[in-house]
Subunit: 348 residues, 2 copies
Amino acid sequence: MIEDKNPARTPIENLGEFGLIDFITKNFDISHDSTIKGIGDDAAVLKHDQFTVVTTDMLVEGVHFDLSYVPLKHLGYKSVMVNLSDVYAMNARATQVTVSIAISNRFPVEAVEELYDGIRLACKTYGVDLIGGDTTASRSGLIISVTAIGEQNEEKIVYRKGAGDGDLLVVSGDIGAAYMGLQILEREKAVFKANPQNQPDIETYSYLLERQLKPEARKDIVKLLEDLEVQPTSMIDLSDGLSSEIVHLCKHSEVGMTIYEDKIPLDPTVITACEEFNLDSTTIALSGGEDYELLFTVKQEDFPKIKANPSLSVIGHVVDASYGMNLVTRGGEQIPIKAMGWNSLKED
Amino acid sequence: MIEDKNPARTPIENLGEFGLIDFITKNFDISHDSTIKGIGDDAAVLKHDQFTVVTTDMLVEGVHFDLSYVPLKHLGYKSVMVNLSDVYAMNARATQVTVSIAISNRFPVEAVEELYDGIRLACKTYGVDLIGGDTTASRSGLIISVTAIGEQNEEKIVYRKGAGDGDLLVVSGDIGAAYMGLQILEREKAVFKANPQNQPDIETYSYLLERQLKPEARKDIVKLLEDLEVQPTSMIDLSDGLSSEIVHLCKHSEVGMTIYEDKIPLDPTVITACEEFNLDSTTIALSGGEDYELLFTVKQEDFPKIKANPSLSVIGHVVDASYGMNLVTRGGEQIPIKAMGWNSLKED
C-alpha cells in the first residue's frame, strides 16, 4: 500500500530476454539430488526414483491479483504456494518448479526482481529447486504460469478418489481467512480511492491479510501425517472453497458426506470480520477460496492418532452416495451442499 | 485467412471453468504406460523409469502470434510443437504435456475447441499425453503456457555442453523458411488492410507458410540418430535462429565453431522469397527463428553414418574457443558470428 515515489527503474529491454533470465536466476541454488540439470539447457533433467507428480496453475493480473494492493514479492511467493499446495494434496513431496512470466514493459527490472525475490523465498523455505521457465513480453498485464513437480512412493500417493463409507473428513488449519483478507483489501482500496489521505486501519486484521497475500502450502501436514502413520484415503487442497472441494472428493470417490457447521475451524478474526461485513461466517468458510489447507479423509481407526492435534479438525464423515452432501447446522437442520467456489470464467 | 461470418458463438461463461475443462479434455486419450493419472486430480502422476526432462514455453497474443492470420487450430498445434522440440533437443522421447490457457471472453467456446483440436492433433501425432493444465480468464489477449515432459536413459541425454574440438556441426532439414513465411503473412495482412477485396497470392509460398504456421518438431531425427547409432556430443533446437543457437552451444561447450555459408541448407522457395523481399538468404538463415530443426555436434568418426542422409547437413565443425565463432562466406571471407536471434523483450 506504500508506494515509493522515486523507485529505481531499469527498463527490461536493457537486459533482453537472456540477460533477464541470467539476472533472475543468478541467486537460485539447486538443493535436490533429484535435479540433475536445472536452468540453462533446452530442458531440465530430473532423476525421480519414485512416482512423479506434476501440476500447473496460471495467475493473471486483473483476474487473480490486483497489483494496487498485492506486493510483487508476495505475489511471487503465492504463485509458488498455490502450486506446491497441489503437490501436497497428492501426499507427495514437492521437489522442483518451473516459473514462466509474461510481463509488459511498464514493469522495470526492479519489479521483476521483487517478484523473483518472492519466488526464491518460497523455493528456499519449501526446499524446491527452480529448474526452468520462460520470460516473455506481454502486451498488457502480468501473467505467471508455474508448474510444480513432486515425488512419492506409489503406495503413498493419495487421490481425490478413495474415500470410503464411514471415513472421517478432516481439514487442516482454519478456513475462510483468505477470503476475508481479500474483502479487507478491496474495502481499503475503495477507501483510498475516495480519500487518498486516509491511512488504512488494517492492523486488527493482519492475520486475514497474511492468509490472502502470503499463504503457506501445508508441507507440514504431509510430514505430520507421515509421522503419525496416517495414510489418508482421499485428499484435495482448498483452493476454490470448502463446498466445491467436498463436491470434488464425493464425485471422484462416489460417496456422500455429512459435515457439521459447529466443527468448521474458524479463526476468531474471521468471525469478527464477518460481523463487520455483515456476512455469514459459515457461508464464507464454504464458499471463500484460497485457504490452501488440505481436506482429506481418514479411516475411523486412525481417529486416535489425529484427535489431539491442534492442526487438524474432523468436520464430518463419509456416507453412502445416496445420502448426498449435507451440512448439519448448529440448529440441527440439514442443508444440501453445492459447489459454490470461485470461477474466473464467470462474469462478475 | 478465410473467415466464417456467422460462426456459432457459445459464450465461455456458459460452461464455467470446470465445464470448460470437461469439454476440452473429453476427447483426449491416455496412451503412455508412464501416465498413471492424467487430468482430473490435484496433480498428474507419472512413472518414469529413466531420467525425466522438463521444459516450458509461453506463447502470448500480440507478441508470439497474430490471430488475424494464425488459425487457432494451427496455434494449438504449434504451441505443443515448440515445447516438444525442446524435449527432442535433449535427445529424449516426449511423453506428456500440460497446457494452460488464459482467454478473454471475446472468444466463444467454439474458438477454444479449435485451439484444442490443434493441441489434440499434436498430441496424437507425436504420441504424447495431455495430463493437465489450467484454464482461466484473461483481461485481454490469449496466452498459452505449455510444459512438456520426456524420458531418456541417463547416458543418452544430450546437453548443450559436450561439443569437442573437431566435432562436426550438423543441422536437420532446412532453415529460414519459418521466418520468410512470417514475412509473407505480414505482407498479406498489410495488403488486406489496404484493400480487403484483394485475394492473397500465397500458393507459391505454401511451404514457407506451413513452416511458420504448422512447424513439426523433429521427433524423427531423435529416432534416426538412434537407428544410426549416432550419439550427438551436444544439441539444441533452432527456435531463435542459427547464429543465436551456435552461440549457446559454443558458450556451454567452451569451444569455437566455423560454419560454411555454402553448406547452410535452404529450401529453394526461401531463396526465391528472399530475392522478392530483397533480403540476404544467409542473414535470414542465421537470424530468422522458429525453424524448430535440431542443431547438434557429432564426432568425426560418425561422419560415414550421417553423410548420405538427406535430412542432415554438416554445416561446419568445432574449433578451439580461441578461434571464436565464424562464418566462411562463399567468397572465402571469414565473418564473426554474433547472436542475432529474436527477443520478445526488446522494443521493435
